[in-house]
Amino acid sequence: MSDASNIDIDYVANLARLQLTPEEKQRFAGQLGDILEHFEKLKSIDVSNEEPMAHPFPVFNVLGADEASPTLSPEQALVNAPKQRDQQLVVPKVVDDA
């Protein structure tokens, strides 16, 4: 974590698909650097015998039966859509890289 305060803000903003202004980038880099420096505290403690805790309480097998429930109509499904045509959502042509 030693190099942590040098956060690559461009890389992170690109991962998060966030357009940031040059001022925002500069400000965030500084602020996040301070925050990450504070996070260094975590290093002070030995966690080699600890299990990671993903949920406040361990519960298993929360399973639903494979029985169909009601659907939305296409109109309801697209009611908030910025643009639609032929019962489908419209986006500018996507460069296929999935």
Partner: protein
Amino acid sequence: MEYEPVIGLEVHVQLKTNTKMFTRAPYHYGAEPNTLTDPVVLGMPGTLPVMNRKAIEMTIQAGLLLGCKIPETCKWDRKNYFYPDMPKNYQISQFDQPICDGGEVEIEMLGPSRNVMGEHRNVKLTRIHLEEDVGKLTHFDSESLVDYNRAGTPLIEIVSEPDLYSPEEAFAYLTALRNCLVAAGISECDMEKGQMRCDANVSIRPKGTTELGTKVEIKNLNTISGVRNGIAYEIQRQTLAMENNQPIVQETRRWNADEGYTTSMRSKEMAHDYRYFPDPDLMPVKVSQDWLEQLAEDLPELPFDMQRRYMRDYDLPYTITSVLCPDAKLAAYFENALAVYEKPKQIANFITNDLLRELSAAGENGSLPLDQCKVRPEHVAELVQLIDKGDISSHIAKEVFPEMFSTGKGPSQIVDEKGLKQSTDTGELEATCQEIINNNPKPVAEYKAGKEPAINALKGQVMKMTRGKANPKIVDEILRKLLA
């Protein structure tokens, strides 16, 4: 230098559940756009996932079928990336604790000829994990349309080890995998409908070496022939590069089926940083021994095991079993007929010849599906029984079958209605035979002179006169008696 390809496949298979992986919106192929959604499918703010028990069970069954280890617990992770076909911009998948570990798929290589069984080999699996499918994009000139019907459908990803060594093996692997999963009712595995999709990792290395070469991932291999052709092309491309001392770059390439080549999509440097982390909205799954045993009870016999059994127990030839066994529905049909009348060879012959021919002729787009066929398995058994009882000749049976197929009537009913029952009235038959002998002096003379085959000409005449209804064995006896 000679090069050897090494191939690993990542196969996505859509599970045959009624509802989606993490919500109970229904799914079926071919619905009108955006009619199979709910707030969860659309990733609306505030929505939460709830697992589909059936999907978990089917995945465990796939694992049991393919000899995977089923770990005691598995968990869910989010794979984060942005794409318009993915409503939440993360996919719920399994990163480091999948439902199934290891396993293998038995494949059969092409034999020396169609009639001879090829070599069998087990291809190693890395894992099988469960995830949710994305929606469907349709591209136009300047825009794309998004349909979220398919989004959220349960999908298993079956990852093989780099343990395949030719496009033909890859083809054989996919075929074998599909046959197993269809037999177990886990998926329809119809590639045309996107129910089975395949990506391949291809590398080459100098023959005789063991180290793996630089791996190239091929996407968009969305038909069975695409898998074979795409891999073959990529092997050729890499071999050429090697021979010309050009480096092979680790990258992802797309197979263009129409043009027949692969093009680069992205390099290793541009690879996604998916930021996997455990999904806090979902609890892990624990698989108890009891649950495993219960699920194991419903597993079908694997197609290759069935084939070996048919060849051993029923003495069926390889060619027939290789038609029957890979098709779980056809094999079940065969066994249902067999349960009525235990004449495996004859029944199998009717099924693999007559039935399949009629099905293929009746289908508008490929074969008519077996479940739409009017001929019931017990009808096929009855037909064989009629031949064995001497009620009809196999010749007549061949005529009766198309009638059964088009009308759905049982064979006895057709034989009765059309008066096709073999004549066993020897008095009438003797008169007919005598008439033929009288009218055909030439073959009679030849037979009497010791030319045995000449009797066949007389038999043919009798059969013609009786319009096939006479029992050929009896006709033979009468003719010999009259000519003695």
